[in-house]
């Protein structure tokens, strides 16, 4: 008995081929940290269309998932905030893309609920706002609250700092964000990793995503400029 499966052997193109036209795709990341740029580029190259994209934001203009959106591959975006992406706001305003907004923690919680095999959760967030419109309401202890359905996806694209061959993942600093949640919530989980270690090379108490959740690991051979410092955010 051993944990000897090696999940690093599938080529990125073959892994990304799991995303079909019309698929729902979760993409990790909050800004640059944790965004799987190489997997996004591979998805762009694969040419699939009519995607439903689930991501905290849409990265910034011409970066990351914004490339997919600007190329017209995304039919619907489920997100929290687009304040740093004028291109996508423009497409939203002109009706080129449908956008569904959630409070950031509610979006995180919907994804987590999907990963946890729940049907949804009940919250009072937004109860006094226009967000309650068209929501299913539940009465708890005599007070109305909002039912938020769980969110799942066909594929999740994840960025990890380090992975072992069995598929255990660890994230670094603010690069964790939505990644561990999305890694539980999709039928197929593809993770890129900056560093690959042999199975057993990670501290079992410090693994953020256990191997059972991960289907494919794509080693990042070159941490490109996209992963680097954005000069316009430097003081």
């Amino acid at each position: 008995m051993g944990i000897t499966m090696d999940k690093t052997t599938t080529a990125v193109e073959a892994a990304i081929a799991r995303v079909g036209d019309g698929a729902a795709v979760m993409v990790g990341g909050f800004g640059v940290p944790g965004t799987p740029f190489i997997l996004i580029d591979a998805l762009l190259d694969a040419g699939v269309e009519n995607l439903t994209l689930i991501k905290n934001e849409a990265n910034e203009d011409h970066m990351g998932v914004s490339k997919l959106i600007e190329a017209g591959r995304v039919k619907k975006l489920i997100t929290s905030h687009l304040g740093l992406n004028g291109a996508v706001i423009g497409m939203m305003n002109s009706g080129e893309i449908e956008v569904e907004f959630y409070p950031q923690g509610i979006l995180a919680e919907k994804i987590r609920a999907g990963g946890a095999g729940l049907l949804g959760f009940v919250t009072d967030i937004g109860i006094d706002t226009i967000l309650r419109e068209n929501k299913q309401m539940v009465t708890v202890n005599g007070k109305e609250a909002i039912f938020e359905p769980a969110l799942t996806a066909d594929v999740a694209l994840i960025h990890a700092s380090v992975a072992d061959r069995a598929g255990n993942l660890a994230y670094t600093k603010s690069g964790r964000n939505f990644n561990p949640l999305m890694a539980t919530a999709a039928d197929c989980v593809i993770a890129e990793a900056e560093r690959i270690v042999e199975t057993g090379g990670l501290d079992p108490d410090a693994i953020h995503t256990p191997a059972a959740f991960v289907d494919h690991i794509v080693p990042i051979r070159d941490v490109t400029a996209e992963y680097g410092i954005l000069q316009h955010h430097v003081v």
Binding site: M1, I3, G117, T199, P204, D205, P210, F213
Partner: protein, 219 residues
């Protein structure tokens, strides 16, 4: 070989390489002993472990490392630890390929009862209900009959259910039986027994493989 060993040995053959499995308390914990050396498998324990190995040998126990039944266990390289919420997210979210559980009663429609005998035995629920309802495949490992000799495999459960229609396969000391849309299908019988005995000790109809024309394979 004891019943327990026979069932565990046969159950081990149901595991495919690379699967994530959970072993209920008792008999199922013997299954890993019958997996081939270096067979790739990830064993999950409800209390927050993925990648368990065999039970700890005497004198090597780790006070911080038990399985959900309280036994001291080892881990394999690639193991990970996590909290109880993530542990059951793994189960309910569909990442558990097989759960092996015991049974008080299994019905021919796949209903399972194994957690309560009202007024007699009610120690709680534990993780079994979620394992039964949400594992991709549920294999029941159990003696074919109760200690009194009554069939455990019956037309419909008399005890409160753990989950409805959840059982995929039943492995006993006498037989391997699959729950199918048509009913209980006998896949194998033990070499030491015969069809007549298996039928007598089963409280529901058994469909024979190939419509009964072929001999039932033995294990």
């Amino acid at each position: 070989m004891s019943y327990k060993e026979k069932i565990a040995r046969r159950a081990a053959r149901e595991v495919a390489p690379g699967q994530v499995i959970n072993l209920g308390i008792g008999l199922p914990t013997f299954i890993p002993h019958y997996l081939p050396p270096d067979f790739p498998v990830m064993i999950h324990s409800e209390n927050g472990i993925l990648g368990m190995g065999l039970r700890s040998e005497r004198g090597t126990e780790d006070r911080n490392l038990i399985d959900a039944g309280g036994g001291y266990v080892t881990t394999l390289p690639g193991a990970s630890f996590f909290d109880s919420a993530l542990s059951f997210a793994l189960v309910r979210g569909g990442r558990l390929d097989i759960a092996f559980l015991g049974a008080l009663e299994v019905a021919e429609n796949g209903d399972l009862a194994n957690w309560i005998i009202p007024g007699k035995f009610a120690p709680g629920i534990g993780g079994g209900m979620e394992l039964a309802q949400k594992a991709r495949r549920l294999i029941i490992t159990t003696t074919h009959t109760t200690k009194k000799g009554d069939p455990k495999i019956i037309r419909s459960c008399t005890l409160p259910l753990t989950a409805a229609g959840c059982v995929d396969t039943i492995i006993t000391e006498l037989a391997v039986i699959d729950v199918t849309d048509d009913g209980l299908t006998l896949r194998e019988i033990a070499a030491e027994t015969d069809l007549e005995t298996v039928r007598n000790r089963t409280g529901a109809d058994l469909i024979l493989p190939g419509g009964g024309a072929a001999a039932v394979p033995t294990f």
